[in-house]
Subunit: 145 residues, 4 copies
């Protein structure tokens, strides 16, 4: 089981004037989960570069049901579904685990990311070390989101 | 030509610690363009309900090149690619039109949306009046994003 | 000791392009602490109305030192310094408690708030019940911020 | 008359779940006005450093009346009220000018700012060149906010 669990705290300010967590904010939750996975919980160096030194190439986000503010965090599961030469793909589920063990899913998403050299404003290849870091979270598509 | 043009002002605060407009903020630009199209420029009533009384079902966002803060707004073109019983699909391009007439595209996206009854927390069908509003911006997929 | 403790989680997105938690985001931390104090930890009803049914009349915020993103939350202490007929004043300190017991303060602030009837867009007086709720957090000015 | 005028565009997302522009977002409007004044409209170099290379030392914000989303921008007037060795003070008013010439003020604020050397994480003195830039917007306190 390779999924990373991030308990994402909500903010009251995340709600829009319709009383739901705004669809835009959800996308920030994914970003926070990714930073948590790669910066906080990955082995030194390899992960930190990936956490902050990437740009998003593509997002696909499916909003399953609305989420409203509550003091309890919401769970974001994230994992890696593909590692290529210069890009990798992450999948996410935002959900609550209910007392009976059921999963109430709010959002499913995929992101394609590429490491990026900000000083030169260009993408770069994934290093062998980073490949190892990402490999720990690898769960090829088909089983999850 | 059915595309709606929204000149989206950037904010300095839209940049993240890497100096780019953050990928999450881009998604807000799409939301602002949609509100502008349906609330501001659509005929009375029909559009206003659609602008604010919808939830996002799905986003697909392709980040083509990074955008950095500048005082000039960036152009968001938005249009409708499909109208179904209870959902409609919008497409977007975020771009600059260059002096030589070329288009420098930063982002392409699609969103599926559904009208929503917030007091009852359920989606609803699109009315005939709303279908007319959306029809003004209809440009079926294949030509644009 | 009447101070409310809120362990405020930071988000990577809270940093601006200069690498600090942006001064604007700090003000959101105060809002989150206030909602936590009055909605989550106050007795039923009285607090909930105060948490969400208020508008800010005045903020005074002193930025003592910069804060940068880290996975650990930052502590927000908040308390009430004055209760009047239709307004109350809250004070805040954002800080880390260091291992040696010292307090590294990032921000000190005061806010004057008034209960607000949103349906009529007008302020209202504080009820006796709300006065009790606020009284639990009362620590008149002079000792704290 | 030394005031800088910034026509600040609102975003639909600026509204909170109570339907007002959130008090936190207002503080961002001030930041955007300051960047506009010092980066966009000040003479080369001197202003740009001040626009982005400063940290906020203190904010005082008085919320006069609520603001709700509308497609028209709101005016932010900003000016300088004091220039010292290492800090300067700005004042702001957020307002609409009404057809009859009256001013409907939403917010008045003051900020104390200091130039900052981010690479060394320390404040620095204001240069002579920057003093000139700031002097163009100088309107000592007592007349305005």
């Amino acid at each position: 089981m390779a999924r990373h669990i991030y308990d994402c705290p909500l903010r009251w300010a995340d709600m829009d004037s319709l009383g739901h967590v705004n669809n835009v904010v959800y996308v920030d939750y994914l970003q926070e989960a990714r930073v948590d996975m790669l910066r906080v919980h990955a082995p030194a160096q390899g992960g930190e570069e990936l956490a902050e030194g990437v740009v998003v190439v593509r997002h696909e986000v499916e909003f399953v049901r609305p989420l409203v503010f509550r003091p309890e965090p919401v769970r974001v599961e994230s994992w890696v579904t593909q590692i290529r030469a210069a890009t990798f793909t992450m999948a996410y589920e935002v959900l609550d685990e209910l007392p009976d063990g059921d999963r109430r899913v709010y959002l499913r998403a995929n992101s394609v990311l590429t490491p990026y050299v900000f000083s030169q404003e260009r993408p770069r290849r994934i290093t062998a070390e980073e490949r190892d870091v990402l490999g720990r979270f690898l769960e090829p598509a088909g089983e999850g989101a």
